[in-house]
């Protein structure tokens, strides 16, 4: 079958918040834009975001400011964030939220009729613009409707990109396949924007949808781009635990934002002992570790978690502010959250690590390649604050879309697509179909999830991490001979799709283990029992992952850009004012 060829100015891979916002920006700049997404449009993982979008609008707390938001983000990220991204994010989030409202998005209101803002973990002020507990859906739908009515945008649904194509060191296209019929598509493009999200599926218990297999990280890595902070994977403190069929499904931080309290099996409000000041609204890494410690000490709930209780609020309030949580527990766990506590435990939620980008533009280290959203790294440092992801998508989706459009505009005729690269990529794509009875991708995927769950948990240590890395490398070897589970059809064949996804997952897992071994300290989401303390030396360092000359994965510690004096002052003042005990 000869591949289909299609030409565009800006190819956007992924149609979550960042991809759609980027596509709109690039199209508004006059470029032809093609958006490809693995699922149907509007189904991206962004829909699952519940709590809200953080932006210092200061509608609820007049004292809020971009400086306060910046300081919270840097403190939450334990100072290894790309400070410039944190600054831009804090300054531009309000504008992006108000813009979205002008595109038809609807948020809950204050009494004065402005956008209401709810309190959230580690945000000094109530800061999250929200609509009930389905803010991600609102964001997706508003962007989706704006996108399909933006001239110059084409959307190719259910298409998976397997390799980027390069010419003279720059990205000039991609090889993809359509899931429905397996036909190959060669995209030629003047710039490519990655917006593929995270890789939460490498763990067994995760809030992430099937799509989160780290494809963008893999594509960037294979194209020679640099990855950053891959050891930083966020456990959301509250996922469902019971019954087993629903384990991992997210319980929004909004429950705690609206006053929910955490208790252990003895009824003790244990956050008192872990963060006396912020209690349940401490940062996610702290709350997740606290629940983990309670369970380890034998004070867990019956199914190995903690109780999250909001029953002191009125049923009406709960149903209005947390409608999907009410529905989710009633339907899936037969628990009425207006009457009983929820049982919760940490679940893999977010990738702080990913493709290293330039703050202003989202440019990766490979010319013509841009990244935004969860696939990009830097804004969140060692731990992301709740609500910062939705505003991240808008701020950096737009910036990367603008920059990709600008870059595309500077290119002349499209570069010739190198046949040899297309052939090599095609071979990689078709390989599982040529040996259908090779090892089952479902089995390998399940084993990989077990390895990550067991060897890169909330509290890590070197021997276990090393064992995990060895196991990942062994899986990588077996994956080279992997089949489809038996079928050779190209028409919507999930065995084949899973085999291809697994390659992305393995690269993400390898980067995670290699980086986690190197960072010999505990910082944010990366906690080591053999190095239990923050090490000031490591505050200056980010771990960068790149493909070496012989195809091996390399990890290098790089000194981060020093924070300018005036921004350091902002952070210092914030530490003094609110959380002195954290400053160690």
């Amino acid at each position: 079958m000869t591949p289909e060829n299609t030409d565009t100015d800006v190819l956007v891979i992924g149609a979550g918040g960042a991809g759609m916002r980027g596509a709109i920006a690039a199209a508004q700049a006059g470029r032809r834009v093609t958006v490809v997404c693995k699922s149907l449009l509007g189904k991206a993982h962004t829909v699952m975001a519940e709590g809200g979008a953080a932006a210092a609008l200061a509608n609820v707390a007049g004292l809020d400011s971009w400086e306060a938001h910046f300081a919270d983000t840097m403190k939450g990220g334990k100072l290894i964030n790309n400070w410039r991204m944190a600054e831009l994010h804090a300054k531009e989030s309000p504008e992006r939220i108000l813009e979205l409202e002008r595109w038809g998005a609807v948020f809950d209101r204050t009494e004065d009729g402005l956008i209401h803002q709810r309190p959230f973990g580690a945000h000094t002020y109530p800061r999250l613009a929200h609509i009930g507990d389905r803010t991600g859906l609102e964001l997706i739908r508003s962007l989706q409707d704006a996108l399909v009515h933006t001239p110059g945008v084409e959307v190719h649904m259910e298409v998976t990109v397997v390799r980027l194509l390069l010419a003279a060191g720059r990205v000039v296209g991609a090889l993809a396949y359509a899931r429905a019929d397996g036909r190959q598509i060669v995209y030629s493009a003047r710039a490519v924007l990655l917006a593929t999200g995270g890789a939460g599926r490498i763990y067994r218990v995760t809030s992430n949808s099937w799509e989160c297999t780290g494809d963008g990280t893999m594509l960037a890595y294979e194209a020679g781009a640099r990855l950053r902070d891959c050891e930083m994977v966020q456990f959301h403190p509250t996922g469902m635990v019971w019954p087993p069929g629903v384990r991992g499904i997210l319980v929004t931080e909004g429950v705690r934002g609206e006053g929910g309290v955490l208790r252990n099996k003895d009824g003790e409000r244990f956050m008192e002992r872990y963060d006396h000041e912020r209690m349940e609204l401490s940062s996610r890494d702290v709350v997740a570790r606290a629940i983990n410690s309670e369970v380890a000490a034998g004070r867990g709930s019956p199914h190995g978690g903690a109780f999250l209780d909001i029953t002191h609020r009125s049923p009406d309030f709960i149903k209005r502010k947390l409608p999907s949580m009410y529905e989710q527990f009633l339907k899936l766990a037969k628990v009425d959250i207006t009457k009983e506590p929820m049982e919760v435990a940490p679940t893999i939620h977010y990738y702080m690590g990913g493709v290293d980008v330039e703050a202003e533009t989202g440019a990766t280290t490979v010319p013509g390649l841009y990244a935004a959203g969860e696939v990009a790294s830097g804004l969140h440092g060692a731990n992301r604050l709740g609500g910062n992801s939705l505003s991240d998508l808008l701020v950096f989706g737009k910036r990367a879309g603008d920059a990709a459009a600008e870059f595309a505009g500077r290119q002349g005729k499209p570069r010739r697509i190198d046949k040899a690269q297309v052939e090599a990529a095609t071979e990689f794509l078709m390989a599982p179909l040529t040996r259908p009875h090779g090892e089952s991708p479902y089995k390998l995927q399940s084993e990989l999830q077990e390895v990550c769950t067991q060897h890169a948990p909330i509290i890590r240590d070197e021997p276990s991490l090393r064992e995990g890395l060895e196991k990942v490398l062994a899986l990588k070897e077996r994956a080279a001979e992997m089949g489809t589970g038996g079928a050779t059809t190209r028409a919507f064949n999930p065995g084949w799709h899973s085999a291809l996804d697994l390659h992305s997952m393995l690269i993400n897992a390898e980067a995670l283990f290699r980086s986690a071994i190197e960072r010999k300290e505990s910082r944010g989401a990366h906690a080591r029992s053999d190095f239990p303390k923050l090490d000031p030396k490591w505050a200056q360092l980010n771990l960068m992952v790149q493909k070496g000359k012989n195809g091996e994965m390399t990890v290098t510690a790089t000194e981060n850009q020093p924070i300018p004096y005036e921004l350091t002052e902002v952070i210092t003042q914030s530490f003094q004012k609110y959380t002195p005990e954290e400053h160690e």
């Binding site: 189904k43 829909v47 595109w103 209101r109 402005l114 739908r141 999907s324 899936l332």
Partner: protein, 254 residues
């Protein structure tokens, strides 16, 4: 807390396997565990018995609306349908209203084409030019919040007899897009009039209020009562008000 059930139970799940050229129900015996939903059972079959069993799913948390199917003939989200509700045997088929691609996957692209025909949110020139942040009241927002809960699972489209039994996709946008239109028409800041579209191509008149769509909505949106009927009334106001009709005739408009 959930009541515990024996863990070694097995159910017989019959799944449609096939494509546009035909197909049949294939039986699978699936071990169930507590809290298992139909999507879990389908994914178990995929991982253990039929690796090429085609199914769409994303979030497994009833938030994305991807895993729509007909369980025992009833349109449902598979991720929100506990196996325990179906006893020892049940069937899973793809949505019938849309062309089949393979197994449980159907071609729902028609819906995306319809969506493009609905003019997007358009504020008044005055509001658009207002440099200050907009103010809206919570009660005005509340009115459309219900419609904006829609996760586009297209189960309402699947069950709508205008589309399902009469295949009048040429004459009616379907319940999903009545909701979409209502959410725009009732948006406190929207200034566009979509009533002519609703009377014409949108075909709001095609709906005869059997409320099947409301019944299957996993988000419990009152599609008929709160979206379709008010849209019908608005269209009637514009086109069938006797005084306006005389006025139109006098002005020589249709």
């Amino acid at each position: 807390m959930a009541v515990s059930t024996p863990s070694r139970n097995v159910v017989l799940m019959s799944v449609f396997r096939g494509d546009a050229d035909g197909g049949e129900l294939v039986n699978y015996r699936v071990p169930i565990r507590e809290g298992m939903v139909v999507l879990d059972a389908v994914l178990w079959v995929q991982a253990n018995m039929a690796p090429d069993l085609a199914v769409r799913w994303n979030c497994k948390a009833a938030k994305c609306g991807s895993c729509s199917a007909e369980i025992n003939g009833f349109p449902r989200l598979m991720c929100k349908s506990p196996v325990a509700e179906y006893g020892e045997e049940f069937t899973v088929r793809p949505m019938r209203t849309f062309p089949i691609i393979r197994d449980l996957v159907t071609d729902v692209s028609w819906n995306y084409e319809v969506n493009k025909k609905i003019p997007p949110f358009t504020p008044s020139a005055e509001d658009a030019a207002d440099p200050e942040p907009w103010r809206m009241q919570q009660e005005d927002v509340d009115r459309i919040t219900e419609f904006r809960k829609c996760i586009e699972c297209f189960l309402c489209q699947d069950v709508c007899h205008v589309l399902r039994n009469h295949d009048r996709k040429d004459a009616f946008f379907g319940p999903r897009f009545m909701i979409r239109t209502a959410s725009l028409e009732m948006h406190p800041k929207d200034a566009l009039d979509r009533r002519p579209l609703m009377k014409g191509e949108g075909g709001v008149g095609m709906c005869n209020i059997t409320k099947c769509c409301t019944e299957v909505c996993p988000e419990h949106i009152h599609i008929t009562d709160n979206a379709i009927i008010p849209l019908k009334e608005r269209v009637a106001d514009l086109y069938f008000d006797p005084l306006r009709a005389i006025g139109r005739r006098l002005r020589g408009k249709k």
